[in-house]
């Protein structure tokens, strides 16, 4: 007798809707969308700066639109969310060893957040000095 046929359930396109873990994963991956918008805004700003005053003013006005502010705020939150997931994963991918012992993951996560705070403080300082 030949081997009876086996049944192979195919993964459908909506596979990620079947489990809450996969939804969270997709949320993490989806953070790229508002970030793309933010980068596009940034590039458009640079371009309009080259085009002259009028163009630049136009860009500034566009950036003040509530929708645009909301989307950029979303991008900011998304980037923080992504950083949070990334920081969690980092100690597992690059475990650091000091004197033969693996550094506690929590310590590494904390270190990364301290880095974020440092960057923000630096950026704020530069920004405020410019004013």
């Amino acid at each position: 007798m030949a081997k009876p046929t086996s049944y192979f359930p195919e993964l459908k396109r909506d596979w990620w809707l079947k489990h809450s873990y996969f939804k969270k994963y997709m949320a993490r991956e989806a953070t790229v969308l508002p970030l793309v918008f933010f980068v596009a805004c940034l590039l458009a700003g640079l371009y309009s700066l080259l085009q002259g005053m009028e163009s630049w003013q136009g860009w500034l006005q566009f950036m003040q639109h509530p929708m645009v502010i909301a989307l950029n705020a979303l991008a900011f939150i998304a980037s923080l969310f992504h950083a949070w997931t990334f920081f969690q994963l980092f100690p597992r991918v690059m475990p650091l060893r000091v004197a033969g012992r693996t550094l506690p993951p929590n310590l590494m996560v904390l270190g990364q957040w301290l880095g974020v705070v440092a960057v923000m403080v630096l950026a704020t300082w530069i920004f405020l000095r410019g004013l």
């Binding site: 086996s6 359930p9 994963y25 994963l89 033969g100 693996t102």
Partner: protein, 239 residues
């Protein structure tokens, strides 16, 4: 003892039927595992129910099933953990042979593909290699895999492309690469560098979540990416 209804996905190829769900009433208490429930069904209600099991102590890796869409070992998951319905299906992403029995061939082929054994050309010796506890610590966690296959059922990338070597095989490769006694990394890297090697992983991370032995395959695979990147960079500079 209270009674709980469980649903089991049946598939009987010789009767030519498509998979279907069947309900069974199972008595349970605090100590009743999913495996106990399956054994109860087989012994008391329906002798034709087929599934794999052996050690019933979470070390042989036989009894993996999906419980409510999450891969679990039947022996160390308990009915008490489920308030609502309990739906038991064969492990996802594998061909189903009968009821809860899946075809493990591909899994075993992937394991064998990474040369999961110590490669060291010093030959037979009458003494052990030296390995300090700190050296062992580097790979110890990754040597705990029981080959149950739960991580493959948790991995959508394997589900989408069965050619992906997958969490367990890549973890095993990494385990040997990290072993201070091993000299076989060079032979294993070409497998890991492939598209179907470490680079198919998108760090969903569910594999580590479901691993019953806390092996953390996601960590191993992604450490493997770092190694693979280094290996490929070195390759570019060498050529």
């Amino acid at each position: 003892m209270t009674i709980k209804q469980i649903s089991i996905q049946r598939y009987l190829p010789e009767q030519g039927s498509a998979p279907y769900w069947q309900e069974f009433d199972v008595p349970f208490d605090d100590s009743t595992s999913i495996l106990d429930a399956l054994n109860y069904v087989k012994e008391e209600l329906d002798g034709s129910l087929s599934y794999r099991w052996s050690c019933r102590m979470a070390i042989c890796g036989s009894c993996g099933v999906m419980v409510n869409n999450t891969p679990k070992l039947g022996c160390n998951s308990f009915l008490r953990e489920y308030q609502g319905p309990v739906k038991i299906a064969p492990l996802a992403h594998f061909p189903v042979e009968k009821d809860l029995i899946i075809d493990m061939t591909l899994f075993l082929d992937h394991l064998a593909a990474v040369q999961p054994y110590l490669i060291n050309d010093s030959g037979e010796g009458s003494d052990t290699f030296k390995q300090t506890p700190a050296q062992m610590e580097k790979y110890k966690q990754f040597s705990g895999c029981i080959n149950c296959g739960l991580c493959y059922s948790a991995c959508p990338q394997f589900g989408l492309n069965p050619e992906f070597l997958g969490p367990a095989a890549l973890t095993l490769a990494h385990r040997y690469n990290l072993d201070s006694r091993d000299q076989g990394k060079k032979q294993r890297m070409p497998q890991m560098n492939r598209e179907e090697g470490v680079w198919s992983c998108t760090f969903v991370g569910f594999c580590s979540e479901v691993c019953p032995k806390n092996v953390d395959p996601a960590a191993a695979v992604n450490q493997g990416k770092v190694e693979s990147a280094k290996d490929m960079l070195i390759g570019i500079f060498k050529s």
